[in-house]
Amino acid sequence: MIFKYLFYLLIFPGFLFVSVFGMIVGWVDRKVSARVQFRVGPPFFQNFYDIFKLWGKEVILVKNSPYFIFVIAPIIAFASVLITSTLVGTAFFFNLGIGGDLIFIIYLMIIYSVALILGASSTGNIYSSIGAGREMKLLLSDELAFILVILVPIIHAGYKIDLIQILDYQQVNGMIIGSASGIIAFIVGIICLQAKMAMVPFDIPEAETEIIEGTLIEYSGPLLAFWKLSHFMMYVFMPLLLVILFWGGISFASIGSIIAGVLKYLLIVVIMILIKNTNPRVRIDTAIIFFWKYASPLALIAVILAILGA
């Protein structure tokens, strides 16, 4: 029994699968970005080389800073991302889950951001502190919209908070994205994922050209590899979560349905990459105004529509 859970956590929907697949999707991101800019782009194994190289570099701890938080923050973030991807993966591939896993997933996603804020502010670097402050503001702005988005499938499924029950509901009654509230919530959800993953319109915390990777500026070697790996793993479970919540997951009944499931995932990833490549970075006040004035009310309308049954 315990070996089965360890298998889930470490091998199939967990660590090995998600990290390898995440690095491949990260390569797709870099390659598509390069093609959009008329460049050639990196080779297929580039992200594997990068992570492997970071494992052999020196770790530099900042003098007069709390080392413990600095070292433990990337590990906490990695663990929370690993557990989230295992939960989403088991629901997606094996139709298994624990009770109330959606609430658990929302909490774990916040823990990733909190660990990032703690790790960045422990160094005492000015750019790092700016990045931590921006990450906190971004978390405050996108969290409400994201929770409202997640509420829509919960209401549709008859106030059930398990991924499995939402999937079961969609198998009987059709996909949630087919309803008016579903499509609104799905669009807001993609924008929220963009902010959660700190991709370009909302890459305010780690703006490379402005505050030089902000939150990650003092990290080097294996600790940086943990952050990079967590980010690659988010490429896998964030779109999968949207597929489960709104698009009915995947069914292994026939080859056609498996291909359809993969295409749903790829479509969301490509939409996110194209949003990333066609938008400039917004300022932090613009991001807060966008989420609180436009995205959250839109998600609230979707919730009201869902309660009314549309």
Partner: protein, 139 residues
């Protein structure tokens, strides 16, 4: 050749340190990441923080004010790290040879340097060639 050296050749993150240059070499370095040359296809990436760097690209005559700072920058980089001096300025001072503010020495008197790429400024092709030759010396 060890496995680690084999991998690090394919993933070089470059930090651009300007030690009082005339900005000419810096503009040529920025040319490297444009679509015309696209060094990302070799896995080379410009990073903003010296903590992430594998190679320091140093440009310019090293002035008295910058010399201690470039030494500090080298100490802050996680090892193994390589240093490449870009442009004739890092070797002999080029046009600014007689300048009162030059620290009076080529770059390798201040920090250990793995390769020099001469030129005023060197062409992007010459820089790619220099970095590839530097990586060829890795055993």
């Amino acid at each position: 050749m060890s496995l680690y050296n084999k991998i690090i050749k394919k993933s070089i993150w470059v930090f651009h340190a300007s030690a009082s240059p005339c900005n000419n070499c810096d503009i040529e370095i920025l040319d490297l990441i444009t679509p015309g040359y696209d060094i990302e296809r070799f896995g080379i990436k410009l990073v903003g923080s010296v903590r992430h760097a594998d190679v320091l690209l140093v440009t310019g005559i090293v002035s008295h004010k910058v010399a201690p700072r470039i030494k500090q920058l080298y100490e802050q980089a996680p090892k193994p790290v390589f240093v490449v001096g870009i442009g004739t300025c890092t070797i002999g001072g080029a046009t600014f040879k007689q300048s009162y503010n030059r620290a009076g020495a080529p770059l390798d008197k201040i920090i250990p340097v793995n390769a020099f790429i001469p030129g005023c400024p060197p062409k992007p092709e010459a820089m790619i060639d220099g970095i590839v030759k530097l990586l060829g010396t890795l055993k």
